[in-house]
Symmetry: none
Subunit: 201 residues, 2 copies
Amino acid sequence: MPQPPPSGPPPVTPEADTDPSAIGRRVRALRAARGISLSALARQAGVGKATLSGLENGTRNPTLETLYAITAHLGVPLTAVLSGPTTGPTVRGAAVSATLLEVFEDSDATYELYRMRVAPGPGQLSPAHQAGVTEHVTVFTGVLRAGPADEPLTAAAGGHLRWTSDVPHVYAAVGDDEVTASLLLRYPRSKEGHLINASRR
Amino acid sequence: MPQPPPSGPPPVTPEADTDPSAIGRRVRALRAARGISLSALARQAGVGKATLSGLENGTRNPTLETLYAITAHLGVPLTAVLSGPTTGPTVRGAAVSATLLEVFEDSDATYELYRMRVAPGPGQLSPAHQAGVTEHVTVFTGVLRAGPADEPLTAAAGGHLRWTSDVPHVYAAVGDDEVTASLLLRYPRSKEGHLINASRR
DNA sequence: CTCGATCGTTCCGTTTACGGAACAGGAATG
DNA sequence: CATTCCTGTTCCGTAAACGGAACGATCGAG
């Protein structure tokens, strides 16, 4: 399974460049593609020409606000100038590879939605997560056996599995076909609610 | 400070936020999900505690470098803390908005994975799809009533619904909270072949 | 209770990203 | 030719993001 989150060494996304010069090149390319001058874009986006020039040349480490003002005016999402379009770390294990599609948080929990593939073969064992974490899997293709190591569940295409993953758990493809599925990890909000310190100050 | 986008008024993405407080909340949620303290994350990511504290509280406008150092150590892409990696097409109805995250094809069916939001209120009725289409919903937050119009099902956070949507079906949030969920549509490869039989393949 | 460790916030000096202005080069106009 | 407008870069004072240190609060151990 993905060992993305929990405590880790550098789980690391090798790619994901925030390399300023790469970002600068993309911004410049986008601007050139639209035939807008640096001066014009700076003026319209409400940033200084010096800022935009430095950004495009990679000699600055822009602020989110600045970068957003520019990309918004280019009509592209911020992600368009951050590493490739294929942003999103893919974590791999012996049998499982998972790509983080989206992170979602609300008042009760944080959710991470992955696209998961399980290769046929011996399967993979993942260590326990912290208490209260639950996993939800919807199988698209193939047959998946997954769940607590001592009591795995099985689902075929269209099926759905759910378990509490605070114990070691397994993923394995049943049969010779690769399994594709969506994986939703739910991390309950840390119970120690000293967030209540909302006392104004 | 730059005003976001005077141009292309984004009709959608009501919260195309680089809103610093929203980013701060997401970072804090991700950190909490991993059970790491602010001090520890700051130390590991090589940023000052003051920086991380201010970032999480929305009182700072971080540079890319800072934000990347933090998200990298959380094991998530930068996009995870920005409003959305989801630049995909969004479909809207009276109560439901859904963003297409990914499309999968295999020999038996085509799958479309959506992130769905259902606003509180009267709900929404959708017409029947073609024969054999099934819908799978995993609820993240709120309580959802959905399914065939004459026989809807109900699920709360963490719950899962599945039905065959070749009849008119409904979506409605139960209670006053917006529902967020993932929606998987499965379109079986047309057996009735009113298009397919044109040429075998 | 006292002590020590760690939590998250706030204070503060340093660094740097910011926008405005000044600058050199190029293209179009008279 | 000079003039004018534009381009993109560089200079510079100001605002603010940065990391380190100090702070009060909280928790666990003795």
